[in-house]
Amino acid sequence: MINEEKALLRATSLRDFFIARDAPEMADAYQSLIKSVKTAAPIPADWKDIEFAFNRLFVGPNSLPSPPFASVYIDSEPQIMSPSTIRIRQIYGMLGLTSPYEGSLPDDHLSLELDASIHFKTALNRNDSAELRGLWRYFLVDHLGLWIPQFVNRVLSTKGVPQAILFAVNQLKDWLKEEISAVPTVEQVNL
């Protein structure tokens, strides 16, 4: 697999992992994630335990130490469906895209934003433009770059998180770092 394919696979695996509904979906996404990176990955013995931990961190029913929604971290109050959520919805709209959840899942769920990132990269490959570069830079640096590190820290500082989830979260951290290092420069964004 060439680098570009691997990069795409990593992004899609992370996207699918953080929105997984059950152990099989988590395991599938994780398998793809392992294939896409060079780092040695922990192989869980029992996905059931991973599932319980995943839900404790990201789903519920108890209160979440690390909710996977951007607005919780970047708006003035830690709630969902905040002004920044609408901003994200507008950005999707700018790409000609919309969330199929129609608001029942906040538009700024980590996986929706990862999906949008994939769309951005694809669009930039297909037809680079200053506007698109500017929008991507904004999305990456002024949005993802603001909240994902906080989200990652929340997970890393929670006790008892299984190795597999820590691995996925660290991969997310790496992905973000690499994307930011490759982001269009200010000069390349001519608005």
């Binding site: 509904r21 319980f52 839900n55 519920g60 029913p61 108890n62 709209g93 895209l97 669009a123 200010v186």
Partner: protein, 756 residues
């Protein structure tokens, strides 16, 4: 430079015109296309949802168990609830909510909401799996069918539901149970049953004046009620009365927030209110201040009551029992008897005693003998269900053909049971909701094996928590329907996410004020939340798929239609509306005389006010409002667990905004008492009794009597605090007549305290 780009992008995003231009340029350049396997899908400008434009305004109502039942105006933009305010059209709500209501947007949009149906592997383990609604209904339906197979009936399935959501269509939960067969129901009410019976014995119904007419009162006694905390919207009428020259007396064992606003305050010894009322009555009798005309024309049994007073009651005795000085009793009695009109607001806390019903009867008698019933600005105010005459379409369901059920004494009715229960061969099995733990342990033939919990939080609110945990161990499946994780969800096998008021259609009224509010669905349900109606339909669909005919609940429900089905000619006439749509313009008030019983046509057997009630005798009580002694203390301190303004029972307490202003629970103790125990302000202490114990911090304050400990009801999130570790399930004297079971003596509890 980077900042400039950020600004420019945000400007572009904020303006619909520039946004469209941007999209056009991208689309023209062929930059964007759908991606197979992706989540986001192409955005069509003709798609249903419009994300631009001004606010949409919706009408909602707070469906909580609260006197005020506020009418709400909700502002939605981009399909997102932005903020809410109290409806200005309701003179009662008067444009404002309360500190709980203002947190509603936070409830709807909390990242901690229960989002999906989930299953716990091992109750209490915290190991939860996400399941689909179909999987959840499948597991539940299969369990129900298995129970039916084993027992030949569904009496092994129990429902515990109370006042978590008073939106009328939520009676669909009871309807859902009926549509499955004859089931076990936790019946009765922990709330107000003793007082309801008392008012029914005296007048034939519980029916209070319009609270807005308190402004017309010349003398107000707020007896065992704390509206400054629990009915904030009522306070303006009390202030108005004061401004017009009326006198306000607060009678409460605790110097409450309301007491601080009164003209006079009596610190009555807990549970001796009956003696106090009888003492005042005796003095009024002696002074010839009884409204003889009213009594002669509108009551029976007064002579016997007068006789009882003369033989058994003196002001000195009343002063000794209640702790209120005789001089005060005498003066207030005379002021009350001569003020016109005078009123007493009887609180629910007052009747949560082993002599609660008897105490209310004595207070009712005081209002009646002074001729204050049926008068604007008068009345023995307690509550009403006058505006609740809906169709209960969601509630009334037939059991499937061939259903077997309880053949014992006919199933009891709760006070919110609006179904027209006729005589039947079988019925539901009714168990006392106030003794849930014991009843679950004792139920046999068949035993209760499955529990459905909705609009209730038993592990927070039910008494004798340790006993309840024990009782739950015998249950094979516990299904909990809720919005947030709590101590009940913690012990569930399956949790189902339910909608907030903004995500469902329903209609709301109050048991205190006289307004009617529509509740429109303002936003799409978040995540996979469903309303109780949708849950009933989903369960029925699954039941019938597995076993045709096993559930009569309709499987396809348009919840808006079902809200409309609640309306009838009676409601239209009462509120002067032509259609429910009139309520879209705002809430409407019932067109009634402000004074209940203004026609003086009581609903008792004699059609008069009954100082002497044969019905009371039938139900095992004295005919007259005689004194009943309080429960004997079994520990040094009285333990009071009243309502906090920071929550409605178990709701709102867990919201993070509430924690900002109410960060931790305390036990409140009088400084004198604390000194004797070597306890200083902020010390960690142990509160303990034969029921259980609690470790928490103490707060000193002399608004609490020296012989009393106060802890606010009931739980605290992320904290083992729960007053029900200390509260037993001793019954109140009354409640069985009108609500199916006696109440609970919640405030007749005792405990000791020591430094931890």
């Amino acid at each position: 430079m980077s900042e400039l780009i950020k600004e420019k992008i945000e400007q572009t995003l904020d303006c619909p015109v520039t946004r469209r231009r941007f999209i056009q340029s991208l689309l023209l350049a062929g930059a964007v296309a759908a991606m197979p396997g992706g989540i986001l899908k192409p955005f069509r400008s003709d798609a249903g949802i419009v994300y631009e434009g001004d606010y949409q305004i919706f009408r909602n109502a707070c469906p909580r168990n609260c006197y005020d039942t506020c009418s709400i105006k909700s502002y939605v933009k981009d399909g997102v609830l932005q903020f809410i305010e109290g409806s200005p059209e309701s003179t009662f709500t008067d444009g404002g909510l309360c500190q709980k209501g203002y947190e509603y947007v936070r409830r709807a949009y909390s990242p901690d909401r229960i989002k999906y149906p989930m299953m716990q592997e091992g109750r209490g383990t915290g190991n939860w799996k996400r399941i689909s609604w179909d999987q959840a209904m499948d597991k539940i339906a299969k369990k129900i069918l298995a129970l039916k197979e084993k027992d030949g009936s569904l009496l092994g399935l129990a429902l515990t539901k109370y006042s978590g959501n008073f939106g009328i269509t939520n009676y669909c939960v009871e309807g859902m149970m009926s549509s499955l067969g004859y089931t076990t129901r936790m019946v009765g009410t922990p709330c107000w049953p003793a007082g309801i019976d008392a008012q029914n014995f005296d007048m034939g119904d519980m029916w209070c004046n319009d609270p807005e007419d308190m402004a017309n009162s010349r003398y107000l006694i707020l007896w065992g009620v704390n509206p400054a905390a629990c009915s904030v919207h009522s306070m303006k009428y009390i202030y108005e009365a004061q401004e017009r020259g009326a006198k306000v007396l607060v009678i409460d064992p605790v110097f409450s927030e309301t007491a601080a606003k009164a003209d006079m305050y009596w610190q009555v010894k807990t549970s001796t209110d009956g003696a106090l009322a009888l003492g005042m009555a005796r003095h009024i009798l002696d002074k010839g201040m009884v409204d003889e005309g009213w009594v002669k024309q509108n009551s029976i049994g007064f002579d016997e009551f007068a006789d009882y007073l003369r033989k058994n009651v003196t002001v000195e005795w009343a002063a000794k029992e209640s702790g209120v000085p005789a001089k005060q009793i005498v003066r207030v009695a005379e002021e009350f008897a001569t003020a016109d009109p005078a009123t007493i607001w009887i609180g629910y806390g007052l009747q949560r005693h082993t002599n609660g019903g008897a105490n209310v009867r004595a207070i009712d008698a005081l209002v009646a003998m002074t001729g204050n019933i049926g008068k604007t600005g008068g009345g023995a105010r307690y509550g009403h269900l006058y505006t609740w005459g809906f169709n209960y379409h969601a509630l009334v369901m037939k059991q499937p053909k061939g259903s077997k059920g309880w053949t014992g004494k006919a199933g009891p009715k709760g006070e919110f049971d609006f179904s027209e229960g006729g005589a039947a061969k079988y019925s539901d099995r009714g168990l006392n909701i106030n003794k849930t733990a014991q009843e679950l342990l004792d139920a046999t033939d068949p035993a209760v094996k499955m529990l459905w919990v909705s609009c209730k939080n038993p592990l927070s609110q039910d008494f004798d928590k340790n006993k309840l945990k024990k009782a739950m161990k015998q249950l094979e499946m516990v299904v909990v329907v809720d919005q947030f994780f709590n101590q009940t969800v913690e012990l569930a096998d399956i949790v189902l996410p339910v909608t907030t008021l903004f995500e469902e259609w329903t209609v709301d009224v109050s048991y205190w004020q006289y307004w009617l509010s529509i509740n429109e669905q303002a936003i799409k349900p978040m995540f996979e939340a469903k309303s109780n109606l949708e849950i009933a339909a989903a369960l029925s669909a699954k039941m019938n798929a597995l076993s045709p005919g096993s559930c009569t609940y309709p499987t396809k429900i348009d919840t808006k239609e079902w809200m409309i089905k609640e309306f009838n000619k009676g409601i239209y006439g009462l509120f002067g509306i032509n259609s429910w749509e009139d309520l879209k313009k705002g809430p409407r008030k019932a067109k009634v005389h402000p004074a209940s019983w203004s026609d003086l046509k009581f609903k008792t057997p004699s059609k008069k006010y009954e100082f002497k009630s044969e019905t009371a005798v039938k139900w095992g009580h004295k005919a007259l409002p005689e004194y009943k002694a309080p429960r004997k203390p079994y520990a040094p301190f009285q333990l009071l667990t009243p309502h906090s303004k920071f929550g409605i029972h178990s709701q709102f307490i867990n919201i993070d905004w509430m924690h900002d202003i109410n960060p931790e629970p305390f036990v409140y103790i009088n400084p004198e008492a604390a000194k004797k125990k070597g306890i200083s302000d902020g010390d960690k202490v142990r509160v303990f009794n034969k029921v259980g114990e609690m470790v928490l911090k103490a707060k000193l304050g002399d608004n609490v009597p020296t012989d009393t400990l106060l802890m606010y009801e009931a739980w605290f999130a992320k904290n083992p605090y729960n007053v029900n570790n200390l509260v037993d399930d001793t019954s109140a004297d009354m409640g069985a007549y009108k609500t199916g079971a006696p109440g609970v003596a919640i405030h007749d509890q005792f405990a000791d305290i020591a430094k931890a």
